[in-house]
Each structure stands twice: as structure tokens, then as C-alpha cells.
């Protein structure tokens, strides 16, 4: 039985950053993501027929859709909807997580991990430093090569 599950993740980043994070989670979703800064997007669950309004990010599910639109093949039955809650400073989402691929079932953890990777890259980019990324299994290392300038010497 397919049902949306509500979740949240404490990530204080804006819409543009969250899109980059989602692109890191699954690059192929790029064709199926809709965004609305005003937060007036609807998500649909084609298994239960439910529709919900008020989201700023929607990742459309694949397979059979009543609206005939295309969607991500690895998201079954129900769209993923996301919106930022400025009061709790969390990104809230609804997703049919039991039907997501195994590596995405812990959706909040995946978002936290990829947001960290994105942030580390952004820091390196901001500072103009070299960076490399190594992914092994469920672990991602981001290595930033930084100069030890005089300001970082002991006793200075």
C-alpha cells in the first residue's frame, strides 16, 4: 500500500541550494523537478488519488500518472514534495519512502549527507581552493587543499 510519509530535515539553505543537493542525490531527476519560490505546487499520489498543495519543490513520480506527464522512474506511485519552514528552519517533505530505492529510503539522511558535500564544495569554490571528491560506498569525502598562510601560524 502506497502512502506518503511526512519527514523533515534540519537544513538551513535556500531553494537554489536544495535543488543542487537533489541533483547530487539523483542527477536524473533534473528532468522531473518543478520549483516554485511561492510554494504553490501540487503533489499527487496516483495510488491513492490524493493531491496536496503548497510545495516549492516537486519531483514527479514515474510509471502510471493520471495527468500523463513524465516522471522519475525510480519514484513509484507518489510525487515527492518539499517546502522550507522558516519557523522550524527545516525542510519538510512528503515522500512514499518505502517505495523509494534502497539507497534513498532514509531520505532525510541522504539529504543531510549531500547538503554537506554541496556546502564543502561551495566553501572551496568561495575560497578559490582546489577540491576533490571521493565516493566509496555510502561515504563521500571532500578534500580541500588549503594554504597555511602566516595568519595560520602558531604565535602570530
Amino acid at each position: 500500500m502506497s502512502h506518503w510519509q511526512a519527514g523533515s530535515v534540519k537544513l538551513q539553505c535556500n531553494l537554489e541550494v536544495m535543488i543542487k543537493v537533489l541533483m547530487r542525490v539523483k542527477p536524473s531527476w533534473v528532468k522531473h523537478i518543478q520549483t516554485s519560490p511561492a510554494g504553490n505546487l501540487k503533489i499527487v499520489n496516483d495510488h491513492t488519488g490524493e493531491v496536496e498543495d503548497g510545495y516549492s519543490i516537486v519531483i514527479r513520480h514515474g510509471g502510471y500518472r493520471r495527468d500523463g506527464k513524465s516522471g522519475a522512474d525510480d519514484i513509484k506511485f507518489a510525487d515527492i514534495g518539499m517546502k522550507y519552514d522558516p519557523n522550524s528552519k527545516e525542510w519538510k517533505y512528503k515522500a512514499d519512502t518505502p517505495y523509494l530505492p534502497d539507497n534513498l529510503k532514509k531520505f532525510d539522511k541522504v539529504l543531510t549527507q549531500e547538503a554537506g558535500v554541496e556546502q564543502a564544495h561551495a566553501i572551496a569554490n568561495q575560497l578559490g581552493l582546489q577540491v576533490k571528491e571521493i565516493r566509496v560506498g555510502g561515504q563521500t569525502k571532500v578534500v580541500i587543499r588549503a594554504p597555511v598562510s602566516k595568519t595560520h601560524m602558531l604565535g602570530v
Binding site: 537544513l11 538551513q12 539553505c13 535556500n14 531553494l15 537554489e16 541550494v17 522550507y84 522558516p86 539507497n103 532514509k106 532525510d108 539522511k109 541522504v110 543531510t112 549527507q113 549531500e114 547538503a115 554537506g116 558535500v117 556546502q119 564543502a120 564544495h121 561551495a122 566553501i123 569554490n125 568561495q126 575560497l127 581552493l129 582546489q130 577540491v131 576533490k132 571528491e133 555510502g138 561515504q139 563521500t140 569525502k141 571532500v142 578534500v143 580541500i144 587543499r145 588549503a146 594554504p147 597555511v148 595560520h152 601560524m153 602558531l154 604565535g155 602570530v156
Partner: protein, 114 residues
């Protein structure tokens, strides 16, 4: 964002700050100083690590994630000169290994309000 290929050997006066992000949402960071670099011996690595970690990045309004410090790792020259990566690096004998106290801290990276 262009991802550079960072050379295996680190030039003098440079260190690598390694962030590790795990699929359970946890994160660690450590500094790797390569070789018998005098500059690295005299460096305040904690300050450098904090200055890099706390850099303000547009679009982020921290704290974003918790990160655990793993301190400083000194990699020896012998390891870097090997044509094939050895399984375990011999510790560099000239510099004592510095171990930072284990602590959890927030990375405060304020951006603009969302």
C-alpha cells in the same frame, strides 16, 4: 563547480582538509599535513580548519550539519613517494602526532535568509 585532480603529494605550505560525509547523516573533518613541512609544523591547524569550515557561503544559513573533529594526521614522505599506494602509511617520525580532543561542533555558515 570544476573538480580538480589534486596531486597525491601536497606542496609545502599546504594541507588537506578532509570532510567525510556518511550515509547516516554524520560528518567528520580532519587535517592532513603531508611530509616534513616546516610550515605545517608551525601551523595552527585548528584555526585554519575553523576558518575554512566557517566560510560564509551564499545560499546556506548555518548551522547546516554537525561535524566531529578527528584532529591532525601527519602523512610521511615515504608514503607519498611510493609508486603504488601502500596499504598503510608509516608514521612520519619527525613530527609527533597531534590529536585534537574529540568534540562535536556546529558549522556555522550563515548565508542569506531563506
Amino acid at each position: 563547480m570544476k573538480i580538480y585532480k589534486v596531486a597525491d603529494s601536497c606542496p609545502p605550505g599546504m594541507v588537506d582538509i578532509e570532510f567525510t560525509f556518511n550515509d547516516d547523516g554524520s560528518a567528520t573533518r580532519k587535517i592532513i599535513a603531508h611530509g616534513p613541512d616546516v610550515g605545517c609544523k608551525k601551523a595552527n591547524h585548528s584555526k585554519l580548519m575553523n576558518d575554512v569550515s566557517n566560510t560564509r557561503v551564499n545560499g546556506f544559513n548555518g548551522p547546516l550539519f554537525e561535524v566531529e573533529d578527528e584532529g591532525l594526521t601527519q602523512q610521511g614522505v615515504a608514503e607519498l613517494s611510493q609508486p603504488v599506494a601502500p596499504t598503510k602509511a608509516a608514521p612520519f617520525s619527525g613530527v609527533p602526532k597531534i590529536k585534537a580532543p574529540e568534540q562535536k561542533r556546529k558549522l556555522a555558515v550563515p548565508g542569506f535568509d531563506v
